[in-house]
């Protein structure tokens, strides 16, 4: 079955790292450059994230993420580069369009920030099993019900898409047109979507009962089959990350005071 989870088991170093560790990395990677407020800090963290993604063999998976956001970034660069208030120094003249240094530097800052955040999130999402992450939260007191909702989405949505395909095929075999102009598609939408919704409602009730009889609402404290192993390496990395965040906070405070 096709999963919509972005996680892929690659048996890499990051796969074996505790999920808490990677979450902390994501937070630190976003916070540290923001606190330091220097483009080079951003560049450094981006390089680190790219390196981590590369050794986890998931660098290629970032391409769609980056290219989609790249288009948005490109428009920002064009607009800021040409029209930002305070633009004075022309660096590039393309016919009637003039690009200014101030605007381009400003948009470069935005671009670096966005890419940094995206890559940091990618490091977490691409190398961590969603269920590990949620179990980690539940252990810390997060509601198991909400946790279930988060994890099950990854399997239930593809399930619903499969149901949708089956229903589309069934309706098509009875002569319904599902492809063609916009009007045809709109007309096809209702007879397609209503059986999906109805069957999902029935499924949900049945699944709720099935969960119920397996003690989902039991008041005893949940345990977990998969042991969470927080190794010494994990602890050291956690400490380093926290130290980095604290150091950048100190740096910021020093800047304010000085």
């Amino acid at each position: 079955m096709k999963s919509i989870s972005l996680y892929e088991e690659k048996n890499s170093t990051l796969n074996h790292l505790d999920s808490g560790c990677k979450m902390l990395y994501m937070v630190a990677a976003i916070l540290v450059p923001a606190l330091i407020g220097n483009k080079w800090a951003n560049v450094a963290v981006i390089i680190l994230s790219v390196f981590l993604l590369a050794i986890s063999k998931v660098l290629r998976k970032t391409v769609p993420v980056l290219s989609v956001s790249g288009i948005v970034i490109l428009t920002i660069v064009i607009i800021q580069g040409m029209f930002r208030a305070g633009n004075t120094t022309v660096v590039l003249q393309l016919g009637p369009a003039a690009f200014y240094k101030e605007g381009l530097l400003y948009s470069l800052g935005i671009a670096l920030n966005v890419f940094n955040i995206l890559l940091a999130i990618c490091v977490l999402i691409f190398t961590t099993k969603p269920s590990d992450m949620v179990e980690n939260f539940i252990e810390k007191g997060f509601s198991p019900r909400l946790g279930y909702v988060f994890i099950s989405i990854f399997q239930i949505i593809p399930q619903m898409m499969e149901t949708m395909n089956t229903i589309t095929d069934a309706q098509r075999s009875r002569g319904m047109e599902t492809e063609g102009s916009l009007l045809v598609r709109i007309k096809a939408f209702l007879p397609l979507i209503s059986p999906v919704v109805m069957s999902s409602l029935v499924d949900t009730k049945e699944r709720a009962i099935a969960l119920e009889v397996r003690g989902f609402n039991a008041k005893t404290k949940k345990t977990f089959l998969n042991e969470r192993k927080v190794t010494t390496t994990d602890k050291i990395i956690n400490l380093l990350l926290i130290a980095a965040v604290l150091a950048s906070v100190a740096w910021r405070v020093k800047l304010w005071l000085g």
Binding site: Y148, Q155, D203, E206, A218, T223, N226
Partner: protein, 281 residues
Amino acid sequence: MARIEVNHLKYRYPHTENLALDGVSFQIEPGEFIGIIGKNGSGKSTLCQAFTGLIPNFYRGAYGGNVKIGEINVRDVEVDELCQKVGIVFQNPFNQITGSKLTVYDEIAFGLENLGLSRKEMIRRIDDALEQLDITRFRDRNPFDLSGGQMQRMAIASIIAMNPEIIILDEPTSQLDPQGSEEVFKAVQRLSQKGITIIMVEHKMEKIAAYSDRVMLLDEGKMIDFDTPQKIFSRDDLLEHGVLPPAFTRIGRGLDRKNAATGEYPVTLKEAKEALEGMAV
């Protein structure tokens, strides 16, 4: 082991007019294999869910009489408390998958995690359940990638792992192909031999006749009869209650061949053979 006692059970679903169960009373001894038969809407599934406390605790609705599992009155405890004594497997194997686990092994662990068992105990029980249902080789597969029969056996394994004394199967094979059904029946029979009380709703009468110690006939929420398969399937009014007896019984009836000792029609192949032996062909 717990004995099941049902006294004057009446139940009506919320927003409905008619009683789904109408004054049902009976007892089931530990270790029995009980088949429940009856036409659609006769109250079979409702009765199944009444054993587990889903009725009335999940559905609400109007409830009268009582269901006792051992000393426990089902109505007074939560479903999650009872699920360690009474397990239930439903018709659609698909909708019994939690959807939150990526492997068969983890899927079976779901109920055990909820009960807060230790890791060691979980692994012991899961390995045992996989073994009993003969699905150990699928342990690392995605639950949604299994065939119907395998999925249903996984659903049963998930229940078995919770160590219930009673297992209720509500039409467990109605959505399976013949091979899948056979796998499930074999698995259920093994569980029965281990002394677990089995209560099974099923439309395949040959199977009910072959496996059940006693058969309960329901119609319109009332218990018509509760007796040995031979007695039940020899009844003259079965068709009026919407039940077609096993092929062997129909043959016996058609040829008017009864078991000489009991005066009942045969219900299994073996009995039919005995009853027909000596007949001129």
